[in-house]
């Protein structure tokens, strides 16, 4: 097989061996002890030509039921939104996607400026003064926020609402084992955090309170009331995980005195791609600026006074501070942050509000249709673009039937909430049409009958 990524010719090889003063490349590996040398070929599938491999992988992709061919009402943290064409054209420019982390600012101004713009947009959306250059995803960003709160307050108890994304809860638990955190879960009542229980648990040992807004069930948590509770324990930190698209219409968490706001910008220009890569964001106060995990880009000037950008406050980071770093994060999600920046620029100041509103209007229409069809809607508070419907059958049975009709149904809440057997979390984004919503509700109604 010819290998098109390997430019070495026999002549080159001979000249290079001569320069080194050896006769075979084997000599370069002679320092590997005999005992641990691999004395057989690796057992992998045979290499394939570009044409053959592409054919095989297209077939493999075609085995998947995709969101472009099926009409989806599945959300639960990952959403199917419209992605403007400009996004992929920008992130396909190889000056961006084949670059390393911008450690050499003179030849990395493009990436650095793009990140600075991303930080500005996240700051605007969340109402927080400082945002970093990205985290792996919303879940790990939230877990880092929790660990930061424990380090900052020197307290171990963290109150996490059960209406936070259950996989984020799981990630918080794993991250919390490092500093030995005590995670206390606050129940939900019909999809909203139980404020009475929260008030009871909140005490002087509480490092932070973790709320999702809108929460996993799509409900808009009363941040103003939660802030009031927290005012009783002003040393405890207020951590809010937020879908940034919703902040086009909702009052941002910064206005409610959040200390850290995190989330995922997948909603802006990033396809679902089976759960990753997406893009976490992390925003906080001036006070916590020097404790923030991950990379930060700052504005400065060059020797001639020209404006430019550099990675800054690096004394927080692992490559400088090593074991004293605020986090071990190194690679982040830069290219996806770029995708989200392009999408946010494209959607724009007024488009964002409209897009956010359109999600809310369509979701309300769908909810109303379910009510008319005789379904019980379990979540009865105000919401963004998701709500919970109670079905007469299990969600998996319903989804199987929906699939036959060309629908990917909603999320089966029984997967994480045993008490919610037969409850479907339905997501309605701006790309769903009235006809699709009508047909979806009707199909589910037929299962009902």
């Amino acid at each position: 097989m010819d290998f098109r990524f390997l430019p070495m010719t026999e002549n080159d090889k001979k000249e290079m061996l001569d320069t080194i003063g050896i006769s075979s490349t084997d000599e370069l590996f002679s320092d590997i002890p005999e005992k641990v040398r691999l004395k057989r070929d690796l057992n992998l599938k045979a290499p394939k030509s570009e044409a053959d491999l592409k054919k095989e992988l297209v077939q493999m992709a075609n085995k998947n039921y995709n969101l472009k061919e099926y009409t989806s009402f599945l959300g639960a943290g990952v959403y199917d939104h419209f992605i403007p064409s400009v996004v992929d054209h920008v992130i396909s420019r190889s000056e961006f996607y084949t670059a390393y982390t911008p450690y050499q600012p003179e030849i990395s101004q493009g990436e650095l400026q793009a990140i600075f713009e991303f930080q500005t947009m996240i700051s605007e959306l969340t109402g927080m003064p400082v945002a970093n250059s990205s985290m792996y995803d919303g879940g790990t960003s939230l877990a880092e926020a929790v660990n930061l709160s424990a380090g900052q307050t020197r307290k171990k108890k963290v109150l996490v609402s059960k209406a936070v994304h259950p996989e984020s809860q799981a990630v918080i638990e794993t991250y919390g084992k490092g500093p030995n955190l005590e995670i206390v879960y606050i129940d939900h009542v019909n999809g909203l955090t139980d404020l009475d229980q929260l008030a009871k648990e909140l005490d002087e040992n509480t490092a932070s309170v973790v709320i999702q807004y809108p929460n996993f069930f799509g409900q808009i948590e009363p941040l103003a009331e939660i802030r009031e509770l927290l005012n009783q324990q002003p040393k405890s930190m207020f951590i809010v995980s937020s879908n940034p698209l919703s902040l086009g219409y909702l009052t941002p968490p910064g206005k409610f005195g959040a200390d850290i706001v995190v989330g995922d910008t997948q909603v802006f220009g990033i396809p679902a791609q089976f759960g990753g890569p997406h893009c976490g964001y992390f925003a906080t106060t001036e006070k916590l600026m020097r404790k923030i995990p991950g990379r930060l880009v700052g504005q400065t000037t060059d020797e001639n006074g020209l404006r430019g950008f550099v990675l800054t406050l690096q004394a927080r980071e692992q490559h400088i501070r090593r074991d004293k770093a605020t986090s071990n994060i190194c690679s982040n999600q830069a290219l996806n942050a770029l995708a989200s920046s392009v999408a946010m620029s494209s959607i724009g100041k007024h488009g964002l509000k409209k897009m956010s509103e359109l999600n809310m209007q369509k979701a309300r229409y769908a909810k109303q249709k379910f009510v008319e069809e005789g379904f019980e809607i379990v979540t009865n508070g105000t919401f963004f673009n998701e709500f919970v419907v109670k079905l007469p059958v299990s969600v998996s049975v319903a989804n199987e039937k929906l699939l036959e009709k060309g629908f990917i149904g909603g999320y089966d809440l029984a997967s994480y909430y045993p008490e919610l057997e037969g409850h479907m979390l339905v997501a309605v984004t701006e790309i769903r049409t009235k006809e699709e919503i009508d047909a979806f509700v009707k199909e589910l109604g037929d299962i009902h009958d």
């Binding site: 084949t98 050499q104 794993t174 990753g276 893009c279 406050l313 090593r322 690679s331 290219l335 724009g348």
Partner: protein
């Protein structure tokens, strides 16, 4: 601001301009403001740009012209493996059947995706010689922490709660000690000897029944193979500790040796290095973790399993450390790595390591005449020079790096590893031609000559870039981390 500043997207904004049109609303509208009340209706719109579609393309095209990737030119950045990013990877990752699938779809509707993940898990097990692999970790450092959490869980399951230390060599990547801290351990350093390898005597001194693990990259960050790896594994294992392999440097040994055979218990890989996931300007990466049979029960869940001919998730793993990330890892990057492995096969991957090592040794022998080479044995995929000879002439390694920019190269990694003075860490990778290496070598020799005869030209570099050296001190002292409208 001078007229040569490149405008921010916000500075291109003009009220009323749009580049996005939503479909008209086709459902009856309800009064949202009444429903949400003033408290929850945003009163002030976030100040996103108002630009046209062409404005966006001009802006980001302009920014891309102020950036430098592997497709722009040679990128010998040590420890980063800046090899060519195959274009087929990008095409495959954009297929609707891969990019537009939801993580909560029924497994029977995503059999192609699960098959790819399963097959990748199996391939990585074979390449590393480990018993089990999880694809969940999002990047190298995330993989390190995942691995250490598994080691911690293993010790705790044995009732061993006193192993509080993790040993890292003085030449280790900064993420190693940082990951140890995040996993709740204390990082302790083991010294290198005069050959640039871990000092076995010092290892014996720091090892003990309070040590959870030794973290090691092999070849190490000097590009040298730890020849006493078998002895080191014995020392650590005898003391009850585990051996952790930082896979950042796997590009040197594929098909020649496997971490599992060397005695490593846990391995992470950087799929965005060795396996051509692009670096993306800093990410996303992917950091799968492999383990020995003994540690397999602790892998993050779910794993991808094959039951008869059906691929699905395995959640019932009671000893698992749990989730390290929502969903199943950076699927899109894993898919690119899979495409690469299938392009190369066993034969191709072994050639990758052969040529990566040949290229590095060739450059090292050509450059050792003009720059100090602290360790003179054959290197693996990278080598470390010292600029101390030039420093005596008043030219620092930073200056050499900046001078390289004038010639259109990305500089090597500088001032790392920490145990070499004025370090220049060069990793050419296997995808570069001899002509490219020769061009870079000539430039490096010229810069060495300039350092002697015309040091100012090096000290004042770069001369040809869009901005000159930046004032990093002010950036850190008075941080400006976002734009505010004037």
């Amino acid at each position: 601001m001078t007229n040569q500043d490149f405008p921010l997207i916000f500075e291109r904004s003009k009220e009323g301009r749009v580049s996005f049109n939503l479909p008209e609303i086709d459902v009856p509208e309800v009064d949202l403001e009444a429903e949400l009340t003033d408290t929850y209706v945003r009163q002030e719109a976030p100040d996103l740009p108002e630009v046209s579609e062409l404005d966006i393309m001009r802006h980001y095209t302009g920014l891309s012209n102020r950036n430098y990737g592997v497709d722009s030119g040679f990128y010998p950045l040590g420890s980063c493996t800046m090899k060519y990013n195959p274009k087929i990877n990008e095409d495959v990752a954009r297929l609707d059947g891969f990019s537009h699938i939801h993580p909560y779809q029924d497994p029977k509707t995503v059999q192609g995706a699960l098959e790819m993940m399963y097959d990748l898990q199996e391939s990585l097990k074979e390449i590393t010689g480990m018993a089990g692999v999880s694809l969940q970790s999002a990047a190298g450092a995330h993989g390190e922490w995942t691995g250490l959490m598994m080691i911690r869980a293993f010790h705790e399951a044995n009732g061993d709660f006193h192993r509080t230390k993790v040993i890292v060599p003085d030449s280790a990547h900064g993420t190693n000690p940082a990951s140890a801290t995040v996993a709740g351990f204390e990082a302790v350093t083991v010294k290198s000897n005069e050959n640039g390898l871990v000092d076995l005597e010092d290892l014996k001194r720091v090892v003990g029944d309070d040590v959870a693990a030794l973290m090691l990259t092999n070849p190490n960050t000097l590009g040298l193979f730890e020849t006493e790896i078998v002895e080191m594994a014995e020392i650590v294992h005898e003391a009850g500790g585990k051996l952790y392999y930082d896979g950042a440097n796997l590009n040197a040994i594929m098909g020649y040796a496997r971490p599992g055979d060397m005695g490593f218990d846990v391995v992470h890989l950087n799929l965005h290095k060795t396996f051509t996931g692009p670096h993306g300007g800093g990410g996303p990466g992917s950091g799968p973790v492999g383990v020995s049979a003994e540690l397999e029960p602790y892998l993050p869940k779910p794993l991808i399993v094959k039951q008869d001919d059906f691929y699905t998730f395995e959640y019932d793993r009671p000893q698992s450390i749990g989730r390290v990330k929502p969903y199943y890892g950076n699927f899109g990057i894993n898919l690119r790595a899979y495409t690469y492995i299938r392009t190369m096969g066993a034969e191709g991957l072994k050639k990758v390591s052969e040529y990566a090592v040949l290229n590095a040794n060739y450059m090292m022998r050509k450059l050792e005449k003009a720059y100090d080479l602290p360790y003179s044995q054959h290197c693996k995929h990278e080598f470390v020079l010292s600029g101390r000879r030039q420093k005596k002439l008043g030219v620092r390694t930073l200056d050499i790096a900046k001078r390289l920019l004038d010639f259109g190269y990305h500089p090597p990694t500088i001032y790392f590893p920490l145990n070499v003075e004025e370090a220049l860490m060069v990793e050419p990778t296997e995808t570069e031609s001899k002509e490219t290496l020769d061009g870079f070598i000539d430039t490096m020799l010229q810069i060495a000559e300039e350092a002697e005869n015309n040091p100012e030209i090096v000290q004042e570099a770069p001369h040809n870039t869009v901005v000159k050296r930046m004032d990093e001190t002010t950036a850190a002292r008075k941080p400006i981390l976002r734009y505010y409208k004037a």
